[in-house]
Structures are given as C-alpha cells and as structure tokens.
Amino acid sequence: MSIKLTIMDLMQQIAREHGKTLAPLRDDLVLLDSGLDSLGFAVLVARLEDMLGIDPFTAAEDAMFPLTLGDFVKVYESAQQRAVA
C-alpha cells in the first residue's frame, strides 16, 4: 500500500476510534480542518512510526509544520526515500 493510502486509512481508523467525522481527504485539505484534533494527529504520527519505522518529525533538524494533507504525505514520502537511500 502506498504511503498516501496508509495515511488516509489510518486517519479513517483514528477518526472512528475517537468518534470524529473526517472531511473528504484531498491533497489541499488543511489538516486542522480534517476533523482530527491535535491528539488525533499525535496518534497518527505514533502509529505511522509503528508501521513504517520512521518519525520524520522527531528526526528532523528543524520542526516542520505541514499545513495540508498533501504536505503531510510529502514529509513521509521524502523521509522514506532518505531511509532507503
């Protein structure tokens, strides 16, 4: 499964667990408008680390604050490319 699909799948799962309703997941969706709150994102980042073995936010020299879902997916895609390289 692609990273993008993994992320979208997990977001649906976490939204269900937390009793939240997700907005339609598109690349330009602003994360804060997605329906997940900050705790939901914390859970998402932790689950992704568990599944993919990477946490690009902790590994980064400078903290990144992705605004949209597309930004968020890119952070993981480039982190995984670095891990493979």
């Binding site: 900050s38 400078d62 903290a63 604050f65």
Partner: protein, 464 residues
C-alpha cells in the same frame, strides 16, 4: 492574611481605564472604562459581600467581569475551570466552605450550586452607582490540573498572583491574547497582566476553532500572545497564523523545547519570544528570553526578582512571594516545605551552562497540560489476559508535544505471529478506550521482549 489592606483591588486597578480599552470574545466587546461606573451583577453584588464564593461562570468573558467585581468584596474566591467534573463539585464546594456561587446564563444547572447566595453575572455592563462595601483581602483559590480524583485547591492572594508582573506599564497600546483559559493559572496571569498593564484582552470561546480565534486575534491587532507549546504547535499548523503579528510571544505551562522556540522565531522574526516556568502552586518562577530551551545555570546561584531556586535530588524547588500559600483541606502534604520552598516535581539536568528539563519525578506524563500517572494506564493494560507486564512512557515529538506510548511484554505461551500481535494490540487499545479518557489512551502499543526492572524491584522509568 498577608495582603496589605491598602493594596488596591482589581477594580481599583482599572479606575483610570481609557475608552479604547476592551475585553472581547466571539460574542461581545465590552469597554473596560464602563466597568469603572457599572456592574455585571444587576445590583446584587452586595449579596456576595464577605462570602466564600465559587465562580462557576461558563464563559471567559463573564469570568473576567466577575473577578474584577468580586476581588476585595468576597472573603474567598474559588475559580472553577471549564472542565471541572460534575461529580467533584460537592467536594470542592465543601472544601472551599462556599456559601455563594456566581453563574452565568450558560452554567449548567447543578444541585451542588444550591447555596445560600446564587448570583448571575451577565456578559454586559449596566451603569450603576458604586456600592461602598467593606474591602477584604480576598483569598484566591485555584484548582490544580490534577491527574485523577478531586483537584487540589491552592490558595493565592492577589499580591502573590500579580507579584510576577512588572510594575511599569507597557509601551504603546497593548492587546493581550491567550490560548489558555483564564480560569487556570497560566491564563489568569494573562488576564491580570492586561488589568495591571492597562491593556485590552481578547478571549476565546468554548469549542471555537483555532482558525476563528486566530482570525479574531488578527482583527483586534493582538500585540502580546500567550499559550503552551502545544497551543503554539497547533497554531503554527493553521493557515490563519499569517493573520497575526504579535510583538511578544510567550510560552508557559509545558516545557518549551528548542524546536518550538526556533519555529516561532522563524514565524515571527521581529517578535520578542519568551518562555516562562510556572505552575499553579509555585507561581511564575522565571522567564527566559534568549530563545534557548532550558534556563541559565546561574539562575540557581543568584535569586532573581525575589525568587530562589534550589535542587533537591535533581528536582527543582522554588521559594518566592509568588507561590501559593497552602492547599485548602487537610488531606494533602503541605504545599511548602519547612523552609518555605515549593517542590515542583520537575527534574532538571545540567548541560553545559544551562539546566534543561528532564521530565517529571515519578514518571508523571504531561499531555497538553493534563498530567497522567503511567501506573493508571498500565493497570488497565495489565488486565488483558495475554499481557505479562507493561510500561507506559512519554514520547516527545516537536510537532505534537508529549504523547503516551505503551511497551508491552506478552506471556510466553502466547502466539507471536504478526497478525495475532496486531489483534492483541487492537484488543489492548479497545480495553484502554473503554476504561480511560481519550488523552490517556496510548497513541501506540509496542510489543517488546522484556522490560527493565530496577534494583528496587520496580519498573525502571526514565524521565522525559
């Protein structure tokens, strides 16, 4: 009573308010000068005189109005934070020996509020003659953000609460904003800074999206803005962050790491950025304005602004005129030690010329300002029939702040196939979701072969 009877009350401190000063939330904008010759209590303030009064207002704006009118009039002022559990109300009201309550139109009806005096505070100011009520040194009682059970009640005075605030008025028109709720220590500091410093104040409403709050802060020209590192991380993820350009950015309530300080510096290149170390019990101990995490080591050697720091077994203790005086009730250990120091429970480590924070003694985890005892979560996980033992620990993330992770050791006779492990993880999470509030449910479960057990026979917990 320690307060000098001639110290001005909060109302006295707004006596020279100019018409441009305002308090504002989503619903209303009120001129502070109107309160000088007006009231929000519809002529019923006198019913509260000399009483131990619980402030149970639902909005921050009515809370602000009530606090200004009540200080110096009531004997004791107990402020209920918005998330106070309904089943703690009776115990809190009994402990405060309260005989009066202030509510607003949004306060839910509760049997516990059936007290001899119950007065409504309106989100509006009506012109009225000022009553000449006897002036009292009001006790201010703040609730700690407890881990579980009934919160502790810390007794402050107006003098201890405003002691951290510099005497001089700030230059130019100042508009304070806060991501905190003013019914907790961190937010109350900002409310008091606005009053003492002659500033305006922008408040948020319950459940308001951060984008709306930021847009309003931008429209009101906020110059000074305060929140926890978690609040700021969230704000930095909102496109509306571009609508504000504060001159002063303040962090407190959680430990500020270098990543969030650097991110705020990048977002607000011209702002002064400071992080304060404060708690309900210890008050504001110090403020750091050099943009670096931790605090200079010489803070421990030289008392600054009347605040003394010392380390006892790696934990920070604080003595100052800004600390609370005591806890209400008799069931707690004294708030100050024999020498008058408050034990913060925060562990610090020396790295070069700085002390950095290394987590809480006893492994208490701070998630977005809410404290969690790992043992409580471990007890739930250990109920799962296939769990041998578990360790709940914090994980720091520059983006999300602390989160809770559980390391779990399974019983040896359990199947270890990947699919079955995933099923066990899901079962454990479901167990946690059924038994615990959402913020205590681990963000991830990791199955590990073993956990360290120290010489004391206890699980080895690392700080941080």
């Amino acid at each position: 009573m320690k307060v000098r009877s001639n110290a001005p009350s909060l109302r006295g401190r707004i006596a020279d308010a100019v018409p441009e000063r305002f308090f504002l939330d989503r619903a209303a904008r009120l001129g502070v000068d109107h309160l000088v010759r007006g009231t929000s209590f519809a002529g019923r303030l006198a019913e509260l005189a000399g009483r131990s009064t619980v402030v149970a207002t639902s909005s921050q704006l009515t809370t602000a109005l009530a606090l200004i009118e009540l200080d110096g009039v009531v004997r004791r002022l107990t402020i209920l934070p918005p998330d106070t559990a309904a089943d703690h109300l009776s115990a809190l009201i009994a402990c405060a020996e309260a005989d009066a309550v202030v509510i607003d139109e949004g306060t839910p009806s509760q049997p516990a509020f059936d007290l001899p005096a119950r007065v409504v505070c309106a989100p509006a100011i009506v012109q009225a003659e000022q009553l000449s009520l006897p002036q009292l040194p009001t006790e201010w009682v703040l609730l700690t953000s407890g881990t579980s059970g009934v919160p502790k009640m810390a007794v402050h005075s107006l003098a201890s609460l405003i002691a951290p605030i510099g005497a001089g008025r700030l230059d130019g028109a100042v508009v304070w904003g806060t991501f905190y709720d003013i019914r907790r220590y961190g937010g109350l500091q900002i409310f008091l800074r606005a009053i003492v410093g002659g500033a305006s104040l922008v408040l948020s409403c319950a459940g308001e999206p951060i984008a709306d709050h930021l847009a309003r802060l931008g429209r009101c020209g906020v110059t000074h803005l305060s929140g926890t590192p978690s609040h700021w991380r969230r704000a930095l993820m909102s496109p509306e962050i571009g609508k504000i350009s504060p001159r002063y950015v303040r962090l407190s309530g959680e430990i500020a790491d270098q990543a969030i300080l650097d991110s705020l510096r990048a977002a607000f290149p011209d702002a002064a950025i400071g992080h304060a170390y404060a708690s309900t019990e210890a008050g504001v101990a110090f403020e750091v304005d050099d943009g670096r995490a931790g605090f200079p080591a010489d803070f421990l050697d030289y008392g600054r602004d009347g605040v003394e720091l010392k380390l006892v077994e790696g934990a920070l203790r604080i003595r100052s005129p800004r600390t609370a005086e005591r806890y209400l009730g008799t069931q707690h250990a004294p708030l100050r030690d024999g020498d008058g120091f408050v034990d913060t429970g925060d562990m610090v480590e020396l790295r070069g010329d700085r002390y950095v924070f290394a987590g809480r003694r006893g492994g208490i985890i701070n998630v977005g300002g809410l404290k969690i005892h790992p043992e409580e979560i471990e007890a739930v996980i250990n109920r799962h029939p296939q769990v041998r033992m578990s360790l709940v620990r914090p994980k720091q993330s520059p983006v999300t702040g602390a989160i809770v992770i559980a390391d779990v050791v399974l019983k040896t006779d359990c199947a270890r196939a990947g699919g079955e492990q995933q099923q066990i993880k899901n079962d454990i999470l479901q167990l946690c979701r059924d038994a615990l509030p959402r913020y205590k449910v681990p963000a991830a479960i990791s199955i590990v072969p073993a956990l360290d057990v120290g010489a004391t026979g206890k699980l080895a917990r690392r700080y941080g």
